[in-house]
């Protein structure tokens, strides 16, 4: 009887060890697969929009890419407003953050949330809560790149 309960305790212990060892890994794998699938789908949608502008509207490569960004940002703003993008985000994690739609979401979500603080310091300022850092580092580093390119050309 005693050995049996001892076995049982051992079993539970082993099982707990197994759970601890395996659970985070499978969460990791699940999250990565979801991010891959949703992020991939958003980019595939982007490719469809790009092709539409490149072939049907005869935009150049750069213009088609810009038009695609604008369309995706519009879609993301709409879905964020309807509360759908947050649900996609819960499922997809980085799959909904990394694409340009995630950038748009980071603009819209705080602006909506702080609407009650007024149109200037509420919406106007909070639009840039997350987009601000992105623009600061993106634009800042692009100026550095431009300056380096300039001095390399001069020398």
């Amino acid at each position: 009887m005693e050995t049996k309960s001892h076995n049982r305790a051992q079993q539970i212990e082993r099982y707990a060890g197994l759970v601890a060892r395996l659970a985070p890994k499978s969460d990791m794998a699940k999250g990565v697969v979801r991010a891959f699938l949703v992020g991939g789908l958003i980019c595939t949608l982007g490719q469809g929009i790009t092709d539409f502008f490149a072939y049907k509207m005869e935009f150049g490569t750069q213009a088609a890419s810009t038009a695609t960004s604008i369309c995706l940002i519009f879609l993301s703003a709409l879905l964020t407003g309807l509360g759908v993008y947050d649900r996609i985000g819960k499922f997809a994690g980085a799959g909904s953050i990394v694409p340009i739609t995630g950038f748009a979401n980071s603009v819209v979500a705080p602006a909506m949330e702080f609407r009650r603080e007024g149109l200037v310091m509420g919406v106007g300022a909070k639009l840039f809560t997350l987009a601000g850092p992105v623009l600061v580092y993106g634009i800042g580093s692009s100026v550095i790149v431009g300056l380096i390119a300039f001095f390399m050309e001069v020398m």
Binding site: M28, G31, V32, R34, A35, F36, L37, V38, G39, G40, I42, C43, T44, Q47, T50, D51, S65, T66, T68, S69, I70, L72, I73, F74, A77, L78, G81, L82, G93, A94, G95, I97, V98, P99, I100, G102, F103, A104, S106, V107, V108, A111, M112, R115, V123, L127, A131, P133, V134, Y137, G138, I139, S141, V143, V145, G146, I148, A149, F150, E153
Partner: protein, 120 residues
């Protein structure tokens, strides 16, 4: 044509999967990931490493935020060729202007139209 969609799916998916690994394995918040992706895009674009990826994967490389950074650095470098040092300041924002203006405009509209909902 179909192949382009497959490539966009796979490359875009991988870039997001890397983001997910960073999210889970490091203490990086989503805003830091956004900033990191843009900056990495600027650097890879400047080194000429992102252009082959954009040619290969199309929207798979331009839709993720690294593509936003790539557009910024590409714009700055091209503008320097035509306008000299002034281009370093105007080129980046010019090429990313569509996205920035769209985010501000649609973001503002959405905040006016939609009511924030309770978090469930």
């Amino acid at each position: 044509m179909i192949l382009m969609y497959v490539k966009a799916f796979i490359v875009g998916g991988i870039l997001c999967a890397i983001g997910q690994v960073l999210l889970l394995k490091t203490a990086l918040t989503s805003s830091r990931i956004l900033v990191g992706y843009v900056t990495v895009g600027v650097i890879l674009g400047a080194l000429g490493l992102y252009e082959p990826l954009a040619d290969f994967a199309g929207a798979g490389a331009t839709v993720p935020l690294t593509g936003f950074g790539y557009a910024l650095s590409q714009g700055a470098m091209e503008a320097v060729k035509s306008q000299g040092i002034l281009g370093a300041f105007t080129g980046g924002v010019t090429s990313a202007a569509g996205g920035i203006a769209a985010a501000v405009f649609f973001g503002y509209l959405a905040a006016l139209i939609f009511k924030p909902r309770m978090k469930s």
